[in-house]
Amino acid sequence: MSVDGTLFNKIWNRHVVADLGEDFYLLYVDRHVVPDFNGSAFTRLRDRGLKVRKPDLTFATADHSVSTDPNNADVLQNLNPHVQNLRQDTKEFGIKNFDLGQIGHGIVHVITPEMGIALPGLTVTIGDSHTCTNGALGALAWGVGQGEIVHILATQTCVQQKPKTMRINLEGQLPPEIGGKDLVLFIIGQLGVAAGNGYAVEYSGSAIDSMPMESRLSLCNMSVEWGARYGIIAPDQITFDYLKDRTYAPKGAQWDSAIQDWLELTSDKDAEFDQEYTLDVTELKSQITWGNSLDMVTSINGCVPYLDEVKNSAQRANMEAAISYMGLKEGGDLIGLEVHRVFIGSCTNSRISDLRAAANIVKGRKVALHVKAWVVPGSEMVKRQAQQEGLDKIFLDAGFEWRNPGCSMCLSANGETIGPGERAISTANRNFAGRQGPGSRTHISSPIVAAAAACAGFIVDPNQMESKELNQ
């Protein structure tokens, strides 16, 4: 048996600059993307008289703080101090900043894959917990705190304690409407929100082999939501096809040698994992969360649990609080709950395939009168592609707002909030109490569940397309 033979360890070992003892390592960082909420990292750097060691390996884009309002008169957001600071800082330190309105601007975890910044076998760090998204490309990618941003800027390295390894084998052919989002919600429902704590998780199995790239990105994106700082998928032809000709991907002869190298990036047959699970996902249905923790999740046709059936007292207390906060009843159906807000966006589900899937549901329908529904494309590139395909028109005709790229209502940092008591279906990644604004009630789902809820005005199963509530 070979412990070093896991994909994770292979990439890890390639990046060791120094062994600091007792499982701590100084790792080289190949790509670093700095978002606007960076804890004034550049100010801290400047105050200490430090320089950016590798400006050419460092990128920046403003996502958390930007207004996604298409009618915002301040188009370049010159009045937004976070955007302005990032512009000045990146100019001063010689870093490429993907500014608003340019190709490359968008949510960090959307642009990093789409620009070919993250590549198989590379280490990628970003000051955001969802950096694990980029593991879908076979990169070793992890989220860092703001102090670590300063460290990486100054040294192009990061100190990490080597985690344990876990493999999740996802077996079976997924129904066509089921994607990475449903899969990861299902995993969290089965294993809990802390099961991945301390692990680097590799997703594999027949369901992964046939899964499109953007769906893999959605899956890896939420690794951190069940405690895993790293999620990774072995690169294959789907990965190579996705990356070919991307702006920062290698070209020509270098591309050919890269492919040769990337083909070696798989876990050996005898690789040993500290933990391994196999889940059958053949009959998987659309998933939706009901509570304020992501393990409070069920199939779309499921219901809120009965507290009597929960043995663990701490878990029962959390569930009881969630039922009250969310305005639900024990044993109540999710289908039929009235919805006020719908948010299609975020680093989990704002890519072109997400928008196509949602538009496919919305086409020929109208947003229910009492629902305020938004589509927030993940990047300028996604936005332009969608407009070229006429998806914006489908959403606008139905009564959605078609907005500009940014994190928007995922964390609700720029006044883009959901009101107290309002029920929202969101394609983002966190249903924490107050995440989308004080008192907001968030259900997390896939884009098709969100799109169907927007049109029906309440939670429905998007796969029951012929039902009359969708054709109101």
């Binding site: 600059v17 120094a18 003892g21 499982d23 701590f24 100084l26 080289y28 190949d30 909420f37 804890g39 004034s40 430090l50 590798k54 390996l57 937004n80 101090p81 976070h82 590549l119 076998g121 590379l122 000051g127 955001d128 917990s129 989220g143 860092v144 705190g145 703001q146 102090g147 300063v150 460290h151 100054a154 040294t155 192009q156 390295t157 100190v159 304690q161 985690p163 929100v193 802390a194 704590n197 301390g198 405690g227 700082r229 920062y248 290698p250 270098q254 040698s257 190298d261 923790s293 701490a314 878990q315 964390l411 609700s412 940092a413 006044g415 909030t417 966190r430 109490a433 107050g434 004080p438």
Partner: protein
């Protein structure tokens, strides 16, 4: 930098699992708009800690919340459930606790980004088995004095409870010396140079060479 060698004081118990960093360190929503830019003052950081639980919707203190109860307003320790500080990577989850005065958090497990953020800010996220955490929680509620000593890695309480724990040397030294990770790594600059040369030769696309 502020070294952490010993710590004495009350412990606040908040024995819930999966407390997320959105709750520990809420974003400022000034008039539902953008939060201001810039480095935060300690006063502001301390004030915002656990905002959603510490204050009622009209901004008043919630008297039921542990950190608002007189003995725990000066708490130096926090006892929490599993997977404490999961979620967002925001470092303010650590710095707000520190600004409040809490420099040691005891739990069965932590969100990993938070754990790293703590050490970097010279705070100790102390992992202990659940049974021990439960015991300590009871002592905390009885307002026992807790004392931590990193020179021999022990935690003691007034009722003669004592537990020793292990800490990787790398982390322990960082706390005891109040050392800064950036400065420490810059001492290894020659190794970084070596790595870059060798990586550029092996895989030119890795460093755009």
């Amino acid at each position: 930098m502020t070294a952490l060698v010993t710590l004495n004081g009350n412990a606040a118990s908040l024995l819930l699992s999966d407390i997320n960093t959105d709750t520990i360190a809420p974003l400022v929503r000034s008039n539902q708009g953008l939060q201001p830019a810039g480095i935060r003052s300690n006063t502001e950081l301390a004030q915002r800690l656990f905002g959603p639980w510490r204050y009622t919707s009209d901004g008043q203190e919630n008297p039921e919340f542990v950190l608002n109860k007189p003995p725990f307003r000066q708490a130096k320790f926090l006892i929490a459930g599993e997977n404490f500080a999961c979620g967002s990577s925001r470092e303010t989850a650590a710095t707000m606790l520190k600004a409040f005065g809490i420099r040691c958090i005891i739990a069965p497990s932590f969100g990993l980004i938070f754990k790293d953020n703590c050490f970097r800010n010279h705070m100790l996220p102390l992992v202990l088995p659940k049974e021990e955490v439960d015991k300590l929680s009871l002592m905390a509620m009885h307002e026992e004095n807790f004392s931590l000593d990193l020179s021999d890695c022990t935690l003691k309480t007034e009722s003669n409870y004592s537990i020793s724990f292990s800490l990787p040397n790398f982390r322990k030294e960082m706390l005891i010396n109040g050392s800064d990770e950036v400065a420490t790594t810059l001492l290894r600059e020659h190794l970084i140079n070596q790595y870059e040369t060798s990586a550029s030769n092996l895989r030119p696309w890795q460093l755009f060479t």
